[in-house]
């Protein structure tokens, strides 16, 4: 109304009292900093309703507005990983020459952080790239981010090793039916196996297997499977189980150390049958040693993917809960940013993003407007 009155007042009789707005530049394209703030999160939108047209959306969860910083297209159950030692991010995806058919090409594309533009690619031979609803551990670094490992599933399992610095495919290493890539701090990685063990694969500098061995069984998939989606704190992987145990695996050395499992639940929690559940069910704040788990009450067989009403916060040294964040909308995936005052980003049941303060548990904002269709995985800037 104000504007209408202003228009009527100025009407046909006014003369120009303000300077004209200047002519603006064409073309004009935004750039981003080479190093992103701690508060930026990559939302990996699998786009289940158009699987061949997925994308990664870069979101500033802390800003009052202009939260959407940019996007990277990706196709058909893609994987994503951001480097920390250079200003690049990576997409592993699969394409067909006729979009839905024809010749299949699997590839990794390097995007630079400043322009979110492709700066290189590595074609992966064999059409073996594993397609699964987005998991973080299908694309991982090794050897100080020099090697990039891509998970394969045909349904035989293997890992394609790429030298991402010089953009060269190095080798394919078999992982004997075990799945996913859990890198150690050395040049080795674990994979979870059907027999409740972890297969550990040691690579040489060329990306070839130098040693491969299995740990003892450290969980029981018959009675209480562990999620294949751990959070990592100081090189220790925390694998929650369906029924609320957590199985820590120390991956600092080349050979993993199986630490004692502990329970996420107190007696009352057990009575209410609280369990972890959702898609990205865990995240961590490394600096403070806190593990976050998305939880729901009245757990039962099948509820482990259904999402949760609360995020529980654990001190992993004390092995005890130090906080509960009650979600405004039930959550499907959770991620915590680093920094002194971290944010909790939640993909909610509407497939929009809710943002909370970890310090206070307070809900701060939600980010939506069809920014994403099905953002199952969130990657905080590290």
């Amino acid at each position: 109304m104000k504007r209408a009155i202003l228009g009527l007042m100025l009407g046909f009789t006014c003369t120009v009292s303000l300077a004209e707005l200047p002519v603006e530049t064409i073309p004009n394209v935004e750039t981003l900093p080479a190093s992103y703030p701690d508060t930026w999160v990559y939302a990996h939108d699998t786009n289940f309703f158009s699987l061949s047209d997925a994308k990664v959306v870069l979101i500033d969860v802390a800003a009052e507005n202009r939260n959407y910083k940019g996007s990277i297209p990706s196709s058909h159950f893609p994987s994503f990983l951001a480097a920390t030692t250079r200003p690049e991010v990576y997409v592993a995806e699969s394409l067909y020459s006729r979009r839905m058919r024809g010749e299949r090409t699997d590839l990794v594309t390097n995007y630079d952080k400043v322009n979110l533009a492709p700066v290189g690619e590595v074609v992966l031979p064999g059409a073996k790239r594993g397609m699964i609803v987005t998991h973080k551990n299908t694309l991982q670094f090794l050897d100080n981010e020099k090697l990039l490992l891509v998970y394969n599933f045909t349904p035989s399992t293997s890992v394609s090793v790429v030298n991402i610095e010089n953009r060269a495919f190095l080798a394919e290493v078999g992982i004997g039916g075990c799945v996913m890539i859990y890198p150690s701090q050395q040049r080795s990685f674990g994979s979870l196996c059907n027999d409740n063990t972890m297969l550990v694969t040691h690579l040489d500098e060329k990306g070839m297997i130098s040693k491969q061995e299995r740990t003892p069984a450290f969980f029981d998939a018959d009675t209480d499977p562990i999620f294949a989606k751990p959070a990592v704190i100081d090189g220790v992987y925390y694998f929650p189980s369906f029924k609320g145990m957590v199985h820590p695996v120390d991956m600092n050395a080349a050979d993993p150390g199986m630490l004692d499992a502990w329970s996420l639940l107190q007696e009352q929690d057990r009575q209410e049958n609280w369990r972890p559940g959702g898609w990205q069910i865990t995240t961590a704040h490394e600096a403070s040693g806190r593990l976050f788990v998305l939880m729901h009450p009245d757990g039962e067989d099948g509820s482990h993917k259904g999402g949760g009403t609360e995020v529980w916060v654990f001190d992993v040294d004390a092995k005890k809960r130090v906080g509960r964040i009650v979600l405004k909308e039930w959550g499907v995936s959770i991620e915590v940013t680093k920094g002194e005052h971290p944010y909790l980003a939640v993909t909610n049941g509407n497939m929009d993003m809710d943002v909370y303060s970890v310090d206070t548990g307070e809900w701060l904002r939600f980010i939506g407007g069809r920014a994403f269709e099905t953002p199952f995985i969130l990657h905080a800037s590290r």
Binding site: N194, A221, V332, N350
Partner: protein
């Protein structure tokens, strides 16, 4: 109230979930086999809106033999879908046992065990994906009972079970096909 019953704005008409059926199954004491099948998609699941298939704008169907094979194959409540996940081919130009024209049915898949309320038998159901066209997007149905993580692959349907298809591994929709009667678990 079960939090999964929450009807979400964005998905209320696209996603249905068999919560009531799952509770029913528990009530009548059905033990799902250890290797039973699982949902592909961890998204919001809306309660059946009552009437019709539960999907707004999708008309109800019957099987070829409604007496022996009761229920609506275009509903997430249909008995065979106790462990389905994905878009129901019945809503996409196929049926619960056939793929839509021009897609390819993958023989390699995951299986589940569902009880037919007409004969009270447990059937082994094979959830074969249809592949080679873009996401059908219709009748997304997601039941998670018996799911295991991907290290137990053949009871995990987070996996794109168009894997191995020669012409195309693009996922389109999912069927629910009888492989046989399960050994009595009761």
């Amino acid at each position: 109230m079960y939090w999964l019953d929450k009807i979400t704005e964005k998905f209320s008409r696209q996603v249905a979930n068999n919560t009531s059926r799952r509770h029913l199954l528990k009530r009548i004491g059905l033990t799902l086999a250890g290797g039973a099948a699982v949902p592909l998609l961890p998204v919001a699941r809306a309660a059946d809106t009552g009437g019709g298939s539960g999907y707004h704008g999708v008309a109800p169907q019957t099987s070829d033999n409604p007496a022996a094979d009761p229920g609506d194959p275009a509903s997430c409540d249909y008995w065979r879908y106790c462990a389905v996940d994905g878009f129901l081919c019945s809503c996409c130009g196929g049926t619960h046992v056939s793929c839509p024209p021009g897609t390819g049915m993958n023989p390699m898949t995951w299986i589940g065990t569902c009880k037919n309320p007409a004969d009270n038998l447990n059937y082994i159901i094979s959830y074969n994906d249809c592949c080679g066209k873009t996401s059908c997007s219709r009748c997304l149905c997601n039941n998670n009972v018996g799911d295991t993580p991907p290290y137990r692959a053949f009871s995990n349907n987070d996996i794109n079970w168009c894997v191995g298809m020669e012409n195309s591994t693009i996922y389109h929709c999912t069927t629910a096909i009888i492989l046989g009667v399960a050994t009595e678990t009761n």
